[in-house]
Each structure stands twice: as C-alpha cells, then as structure tokens.
C-alpha cells in the first residue's frame, strides 16, 4: 500500500482534530466525507478535502463548543479574547492556529 485514502463518517469535534494531522503525515489523505447534514459535510469538505485552499491565520483558533451549546455549528473561528468572553473553561477549548497543508 502506497497511500491510505480515507472517507470519514461523523462531524463532531474529534474529526477535525484527526483531519488536521493528515497533511502533516506522509501517505494518508482524505478522499470523502459523509454527514447526515449537508452543512456539516460541506464544512468538513471545504476545510480539509483540498489542502491547497486552506487559509492560515495564526491569530485565530478553532474552538469546539460542546455539543448542544451551539447546535447550529460545529466549530467557531474565534480569537482568544472572544473565547474568554464566552466563558468556556480552558479544557473545553480544543484548538490552535491552523496548520497549513504540507508543513
């Protein structure tokens, strides 16, 4: 096997964490995403399926609100100040500056 091609099922907070590792590891790539929600599938595909279009802004973090707090979204791109304003405990904020593909 020369390359591992992956399709994902699910769109919760763990999925982007795993997908962010793909561009950093040689030999694995995302090929397809499935979600019951068109919006969530779109979001994942646009963020991770095409590395060339990923934007990099180290001033922003990805924060993953616990399920149910913001059910209309899976992730927010917010500054640290905005995170603090939301009052989320640190251990519920899973994020860092996005890693560019191929870095």
């Amino acid at each position: 096997m020369k390359e591992i091609s992956i399709g994902t099922i699910g769109s919760g907070m763990i999925v982007p964490r795993i997908l962010e590792a793909f561009p950093q590891v040689e030999g694995i790539r995302l090929s397809a995403v499935y979600s019951r929600s068109q919006g969530k599938a779109n979001w994942l595909a646009s963020k991770f399926a095409d590395c060339g279009t990923v934007s990099v802004d180290p001033d922003f973090q990805y924060a993953w609100p616990p399920l149910g707090i913001a059910p209309e979204i899976d992730a927010l791109e917010v500054t640290e100040e905005e995170l603090a304003a939301k009052g989320w405990p640190h251990n519920n904020v899973h994020g860092h500056g996005r890693i560019p593909c191929g870095s």
Partner: protein, 298 residues
C-alpha cells in the same frame, strides 16, 4: 462529499473509513462499512456491547479487512516509553488515574435539558467518555482485571425534556453518570480510575510499585511526559515534541497508524483488538452493575 451512506460506502476512491459518531452508532456504522468491503478505523469507545465488538472483529477477520480502534493512547511514542520503563518500579501494587473535564453541558443537564453527551440513548456519560481512557490504559498494560465495580454520581433524568429525550428508555434508565470511580481488582494489585464531566481537576495517571512509581503527565489522554522515580533514579522522558502540544496526540496517533498501515502490519493491528475487546467487556459489565442501561442493551 456525501449525505447518503450507501452512496458514500460505494465510492471506490477510498479503502478506509474513519468513524467518529455518537457512541451508540459505532457498531451499526462500522458493521455496514465492513460489509461494504471497507477497512474501518473506529473512534473510541469501540462499542457499548462486547458481543458487538466481537462481531465486528470476526467480520473484519473473515473479510480480511483491517479494523482499528482509534484511541491515541497506544499509538503514542510516550506510551512506548511507559512500557519500557514499567519494570523499573518493581512489583505493581497500586494504579490510579484521573480524567476530569468539566463540560458546560452539565449546566444544561441541571437546567432540565438532555444533551447527547449525557443521554443513555446515545451511550453518553462520564464512564463511556472519559473513564474509558483510564480503563483502556489499565487493560493495555496489565490485561483484563478480575473484577470491576463502578461507583458513580448518578444524575436523575426526570424533567419533561429529559424524559422525552430518553425515548424508549424513559422509565427503564432514568439516570446518567456525570462522574464516578471505577475500582478494578487485579490478581496482584488494585486500580482506581476516576472520571468526571461535572468537576474540574488535575489529570494524572500514576502506577506505584515496590521500587518506585511512574506518573504520566496530564493523565491517560495526555501523555505529555513520563516521570519515573525509583529508589535510585529520578528521570522524566518525553518523545512527543511536535510543536502543537495540545493536539499532538492526534498527530502521533495518525503518524504511527499510517506507518503501520503502509507497512501492512495487519497482525500487530489485529493483536491490539484484544485490549479493545477486554476494555469493552469491563465497561459493559461495570456500567450494567451500576444500573446504567443504554439503548440496544441485551
């Protein structure tokens, strides 16, 4: 991009499916993917029932497909250090682990809501989410315990919204664990595992032996370093130097797994499933003893 599962699984462009959905959906979706001829990477907790775990393992073996539990622990470089250093502390007598991660969803629960994370209909709760890491680490290091007993802070799901959210479980399983302690008895030592979604705490995992102790930095899902202190030595090890320390365990999980897959280490990956199966058995037996019933339980 798909919103139709059958069409998704029929796509020939990928060989592996990574599944990270609510706990109770794992078995059904993994089975469907395996039967469609896909290799499956299944997020923890693997399944809620041991017979389901066994069935998935059997299907994968029968179809010569790869099935992996996606649990970072045993893929981490620092886990290899832990295994290497463990003999130095001598005969193990006590193991203790804590994984506390307060979630604001607990406030919603107290307000009468029923978030998925706390819904037994989706196999939610503290044991299934956080304490799973403690149990898995015990099992992968020491094997399956002789017995396991779960003592939990059970939250009564009695509000109208909670009763509605329970669906068919209403009246049968009106509780969920928001935190708890799992006591595991091994032939030669005892182990205590703490997990909490309703408190704040300092996460740790410590193994105490007759000649010293080992502490895993940031607990069973952290592995930020391995501190080994014996009668004669005091050393700290860390081989996880990826520049994004908060998320690096996933990086190492993907890196190690990809290396194994590319090398077609099927046997090594298959061997890991014994620890997974043992963990699921411990989880199922202990939660049922504690009165935690999930949708689809036998």
């Amino acid at each position: 991009m798909y919103t139709d599962m059958d069409a998704f699984l029929a796509d020939p462009d990928f060989d592996f499916v990574y599944i990270a959905t609510p706990n109770l959906l794992h078995y059904e979706q993994a089975k469907k993917a395996l039967l469609a001829g896909k290799n499956v990477l299944l997020e923890k907790p693997f399944t809620t029932r041991a017979d389901h775990a066994k069935e998935l393992i059997d299907i994968a073996a029968e179809k010569d497909l790869i099935l992996v539990e996606m649990n970072p622990t045993s893929f981490l470089p620092n886990f290899e250090i832990l295994k290497r250093e463990l003999p130095k502390i001598g005969r193990v007598r006590l193991v203790m682990g804590n994984y506390s991660q307060f979630t604001p969803l607990y406030n919603d629960l107290k307000a009468g809501e029923l978030p998925t994370y706390f819904n037994p209909r989706f196999a939610g709760g503290s044991l299934m989410d956080l304490n799973y890491y403690n149990v898995y680490l015990n099992v992968v290091l020491f094997g399956k315990p002789d017995s396991a007993t779960y003592f939990a802070n059970m939250f009564p799901l009695t509000s109208p919204k909670q009763q509605e959210g329970l669906g068919d479980l209403a009246g049968k399983s009106d509780i969920i664990d928001t935190s708890g302690v799992l006591y595991m008895q091994y032939p030669d030592f005892v182990s205590m595992s703490f997990g909490a979604k309703d408190t704040f705490g300092d996460n740790f995992f410590q193994i105490e032996g007759e000649n010293g102790f080992i502490t895993i930095g940031n607990g069973p899902n952290g592995f930020s370093d391995i501190h080994v202190k014996t009668r004669d030595t005091d050393e700290t090890f860390n081989e996880m130097t990826h520049p994004h320390p908060f998320t690096n365990r996933w990086y190492y999980e993907v890196k190690t797994l990809t290396k194994m897959l590319l090398a077609d280490e099927r046997e090594a990956l298959r061997d890991r499933l014994q620890a997974t199966l043992d963990t699921v058995e411990v989880m199922e037996e202990s939660r049922k003893d504690a009165g935690l019933i999930f949708d689809g339980d036998r």
